[in-house]
Symmetry: C2
Subunit: 392 residues, 2 copies
């Protein structure tokens, strides 16, 4: 057999394994007969490939009695016993680390507030004990760690694994975070923009597990998004897809750091909200004034909700996703208004989609992006099981 042919057959095999794993993931439990129907593969191929996946310990068999006749059926599920995945989030004022099994179960979860924005060496010193704790936990239970996925502020160069002038993140420009972690941990490391890892957390473990379509909007000191369409993260030609915080909502607004004018971020993220309020105090203090019924605080708050509702309507009309999921520090202040935000967006979209508008709160709170880091590795495992299993 020629080398080209061998490579080709490996590609076909990998494609088939990927489609089997995807169907098992989405169904949670599925029979071989259903796999044959869904994939269009022969029963022989399904038997061989699922045996191989069972041998590797990625999936397992379990018996289920079918509803109508009580006959037992053998179902295939992901196997949580053998492998672990780590997810790390490096934020501007906090760090989080999680470890999951292959069914999305979170077996370890820690968050550290660093208070101020730290340079790389201090961040690495701060996460080192967490890393060791998690790795020891895995070792003591005889689990194999498949890799670690890292959510971190973008933009970044995914080929070299280095950051590219991340705003408000001094000391990180050009820092080779992937290489450094690979050397420290001896594990495969993947990095991704933290808004995108947050979206992946919903796609694989959260609200959009079945749909594979969502826009995750994260709101804090800035506003970013991660967008999944047809099950996949969309990055755009220059990695800029989904800069929803940098679209103009106010034609008379101020110039934004990005170069655009009147961006949602300039009026709808925390610094912009406080600027509109008058420049004094913190978001917590502003919310305190809102609760007390202070008129100018209330007006600022209502305007913030109006911009949010408008931006989310734009997101629906631009991206037509199955759902929008909201997260981030600012959203934790606005979450009590979720029902009102939802109903106002519904008022503003086309009639024939009003009943399909879904706006949800993020599933994993403070560890959202870290869980998404784990999802990044899971996604790679499902897309390229041959490579991932060979290297670990």
């Amino acid at each position: 057999m020629t080398q080209t042919k061998t490579i080709y057959l490996q590609q076909v095999k990998q494609q088939n394994l990927c489609s089997i794993l995807t169907y098992i993931w989405e169904a949670e439990a599925i029979s071989r007969v259903e796999l044959i129907e869904k994939t269009g593969l022969t029963s022989g191929t399904i038997t061989n490939l699922t045996s191989e996946l069972i041998e590797w310990g990625l999936i397992r068999e379990s018996e289920t009695s079918s509803g109508t006749v009580g006959r037992k059926r053998i179902m295939l599920r992901f196997q949580p016993e053998l492998y672990r995945i780590m997810g790390l989030d490096i934020g501007r004022s906090s760090i989080a680390l999680v470890m999951t099994d292959l069914t999305g179960g979170i077996v370890y979860s820690r968050k550290l507030d660093t208070g101020e924005t730290l340079e790389p060496a201090s961040v690495l010193a701060a996460i080192e004990p967490l890393m060791q704790e998690a790795l020891q936990l895995a070792a003591s239970e005889h689990k194999r760690v498949l890799g670690i996925g890292v959510g971190i502020p973008g933009p970044m160069n995914l080929e070299t694994g280095t950051l590219r002038k991340p705003p408000n993140f001094p000391g990180w420009d050009g820092y080779p975070i992937r290489k450094v972690l690979e050397e420290r941990l001896g594990l495969p490391v993947q990095i991704e923009d933290d808004a995108r890892t947050s979206a992946l957390a919903e796609r694989w473990f959260g609200h959009a597990k079945k749909e594979g379509s969502l826009v995750f909007v994260t709101m804090g000191m800035g506003i970013g998004s991660g967008i999944i369409a047809e099950g996949k993260l969309v990055r755009g030609v220059n990695g800029l897809y989904g800069q929803v915080g940098h679209t103009m909502l106010d034609p008379h607004g101020i110039v934004c750091d990005c170069g655009n004018r009147g961006c949602w971020e300039t009026i709808g993220a925390i610094p912009g909200i406080l600027r509109r309020y008058g420049g004094e105090g913190s978001m917590a203090e502003l919310m305190e004034q809102v609760k007390r019924g202070d008129p100018s605080a209330s007006q600022c708050y209502e305007e913030t909700l109006y911009y949010l509702e408008s931006a989310l309507t734009n997101v629906f009309n631009m991206y037509d996703p199955a759902m929008i999921v909201l997260g981030g520090k600012l959203f934790s202040y606005l979450e009590p208004e979720l029902a009102r935000i939802r109903s106002r967006v519904i008022e503003r979209v086309y009639d024939f989609v009003k009943h399909r508008v879904r706006i949800e709160a993020a599933t994993f709170g403070e560890v959202q992006s870290a869980v998404g880091g784990a999802a990044l590795v899971l996604e790679e495992l499902i897309a390229k099981p041959l490579q991932v299993m060979r290297r670990s």
Copy 2:
């Protein structure tokens, strides 16, 4: 061989044919050796499949002397001699029909101004003589017509081939345009939103032939878009992807027909521009006043350009495409300002992408959407050559 296996092998064959045709299309001319490298298929498979494509008359061989040593190489290209594709555009005040060969050459092109918006029966009566003329041309030259693609105002139900309450298009709600044309012509018919066919015209025959990434923005009585990413039309979960005309640019704006407020369409499409100007006259008259230096006309015009530039910056930051292409009746008035629009958008996007901003005028003018109708059929031929060749 089981039936499942036969179906599976046909799917693999179709996938391989599709990837061969796509590489030939994008390169215009390519050798078998290059195809082996690009597809990863064996030389035997490439030999067999390209022979089949040559037999069908979809591609042909041609000799090229390679640059450096003058050695002759056999190149594969699309074959323009045997087949024709028809493209139809049904607009609110005009109809266009084109016929192309398989290399994108336009062999027939007609446009009719209907003046007013016509109901289905009148449109069909008006296009009948054009259809006959085009079909007779093909017959007299012994060409086989593979199908017809139709661009028409959306939204629509692609499964049933019927329109779904298209705004300002009385008499067309629920009209089964696909079925009617299929019965009249005895040809396979495909329909698509006219902004999307316009985008397909650029993707297959125009500016984005190699990139496969663009946002086509069409501006006239309304503002719509068609978006291609990674070579494919993106439709969204409800078919609403890319409603750029229905994103809020003015937070204090009026309520739009779509239900949203301050939409770009309400201030940036022809009716909105005239409303801002004062409600009198036509776009041509407004432009006349701008040329004469009338202050309020000039101010209205400058505001129109500001909204356009802002909306296009939003499009870049939301979709991160390789290029934006502009078309439609309103754009024909604004086209002299293209260089100014482009440089203003460049000022407003992120530094590291400024050199990559491309904004172009539509390639096919008045028959843009009709050419895109033909592209719709070409795309199907390339994606599913087995099906298309079997049915014709």
